[in-house]
């Protein structure tokens, strides 16, 4: 039974990559870019859902962790020449100016740095509850951004980094997204995942059942920050340029929108919603541009798209506050149950 489900999971991953291959062959670069973004937002959404949805911590620090990952990955992959071109105002700090590692390693180190920052922020901030945690994490994310704007010899300050090797491609993004889904899915389905959910459901009861709140909150927060850093690294290398302004609260808001729409505490929901929001965001791009209706030319209102997004978020929160999936997941068992087959042994497998 169990092997059968594992086999099904393996088969679907193979099918997924077959799909990626076909898409890579047939779609134009604009469409591929959107697909890449979707996959990256799956990583980012899951990492935030681990913290906010599964563990129930109201954290708004995601853009900060992403910035750490994005800058680390960029700095570790940019060729010396490009670094020289970028840092024309203030020369780059040694030995960073000649340092580089393969893309995969750079992503990993970016994730680890983000995880460390997450741990350092989490240790004091996670003693706060609810809204206070949100304010503190939001503040920390902003501090990270301000620091990055000011340590010019490392980050090139407000000028940002241009010419980041675009190592990221659909194989990387979908690959990392798959690994993230499997990792977080498996973590959530373990005893640790149950402890996270217990904290979300009732902190007092969880603590009375012997679960150390602090230890588990910091753990979820650090793992979430790690994946946020990896996602940030992927995003930077997809864009080719990064600067501190990219990592404003707006970015966190976007990811928050994904997890709220998908369902706080649902991996399946996050995946679906990452696609909806990313593709929807692209489709709504016309809102920011000037429009011509008949003879009437309406000048572009930049930010109109954001207004639509915010309205969407409000509608979801007000009327469908459990999102698309609530805390439900797609499992093979459910699928079989739907098609009237005898359900397999209890305890569904993820993916």
């Amino acid at each position: 039974m169990k092997q059968k489900k594992t086999l099904l999971t393996v088969i679907s991953i193979v099918v997924l990559f077959l799909g990626v291959y076909l898409a890579d062959q047939n779609l134009d670069s604009y469409k591929m870019r959107i697909l890449n973004l979707c996959a990256i937002y799956v990583v980012l959404g899951l990492s935030m859902n681990l913290i906010n949805g599964f563990t129930g911590l109201f954290s708004l620090g995601h853009a900060g962790f992403m910035a750490v990952g994005a800058y680390t990955t960029a700095i570790l992959t940019m060729p010396d020449v490009v670094k020289g071109q970028n840092f024309f105002m203030v020369p780059m700090m040694k030995p960073l100016d000649t340092m580089h590692v393969p893309f995969f390693l750079a992503l990993l180190i970016g994730g680890i740095f983000a995880g460390i920052v997450g741990y350092l922020i989490g240790a004091p901030a996670l003693r706060l509850r609810g809204d206070y945690l949100a304010i503190a994490t939001l503040g920390f994310a902003e501090i990270i951004r301000v620091v990055f704007t000011n340590i010019q010899s490392v980050t090139n300050g407000a000028l940002g980094l241009k010419g980041i090797p675009e190592s990221s491609n659909i194989w990387w993004t979908v690959g990392v997204a798959t690994v993230t889904v499997l990792f977080i899915g498996s973590l959530i389905n373990s005893s640790y995942g149950r402890a996270f959910k217990a904290i979300r459901e009732d902190e007092i009861a969880a603590e009375s059942m012997g679960i150390s709140l602090f230890k588990h909150k910091v753990l979820a927060f650090t793992i979430g920050a790690f994946f946020a850093g990896v996602g940030g690294g992927l995003l930077g290398s997809l864009m080719g340029t990064i600067d501190p302004l990219m990592f404003r609260f707006f970015l966190t808001f976007n990811i928050l929108l994904i997890i709220i729409l998908g369902g706080m505490g649902s991996i399946t929901g996050t995946i679906i919603s990452a696609f909806i929001i990313t593709i929807g965001g692209e489709a709504l791009r016309f809102l920011d541009e000037s429009m011509t209706i008949g003879n009437l030319v309406i000048p572009g209102i930049s930010g109109l798209r954001m207004v639509v997004f915010s309205a969407l978020l409000m509608i979801v929160v007000l009327f469908f506050n459990r999102g698309i999936m609530g805390t439900n997941e797609f499992t093979w068992d459910r699928l079989f149950a739907k098609f009237g087959k005898k359900p397999l042994a209890k305890g569904g497998s993820k993916q």
Binding site: L187, S191, K197, D202, A205, A206, S208, G210
Partner: protein, 257 residues
Amino acid sequence: MNLLKVENVSMIFGGLTAVKEFNLDLNQGEIVALIGPNGAGKTTAFNMITGVYRPTIGRISYKGNDITGQRPDQITKQGIARTFQNIRLFKDLTVLDNVLIANHLHLKSNFLEATFKLPRYRREEKRILEKSLSLLEKVGLVDAQNEKSSSLPYGKQRRLEIARALATNPEILLLDEPAAGMNPKETDDLTEFIRQIRDEFHLSIFMIEHHMQVVMGISDRICVFDHGVTIAEGNPYEIQNNQKVIEAYLGVAEDYA
């Protein structure tokens, strides 16, 4: 053998002394009840023992170690588990998950072993599942294992909370009004059930209960609180005939009238 020792413990909230100079000796295998009118400070006494509140004054020791002011999870890990007066189940989670969660405190595998399902974790998880199912079997909830815990009727939720507390492997079990909201049949069963788990899990039990039939039926000793003060202590016979207790309760009876 003495397990839990509470010495001169007081809890003061602002100007209100919720519990005043409370003393308790709980011995291995005993069932001690704590009774008293509403607002007498009973739950506050529980909250101090389990680490939810740090006592303003006094000392609590468990097996000779000072546990005053430790965190609830640290205290539970050492062997003191509890249930709550207003049931605190993990509502959105299944009956089985509720019990599984209470095994987490003894898990040895780290999160990577758990995520990658390495052999040690798989062994532990298997043991946890077997133990949890057998606990559910004992409280008669094994058929409801995949139901959402909040969908259970009240009496069963209380039983589930007890099963969840038992999953932490306690030596002392604190029950805060276990019969509250139960029908007469369930209440009868409960008395027997408490005795049964005491014997099977070698527990010492300290319980708050309003239901006199339950209290008188199973307690070795009874403490009576009134306005935070211990006004009487003794065996059920002594308590039933204690003038102060009768007065305290008659006073309450009038309030209800």
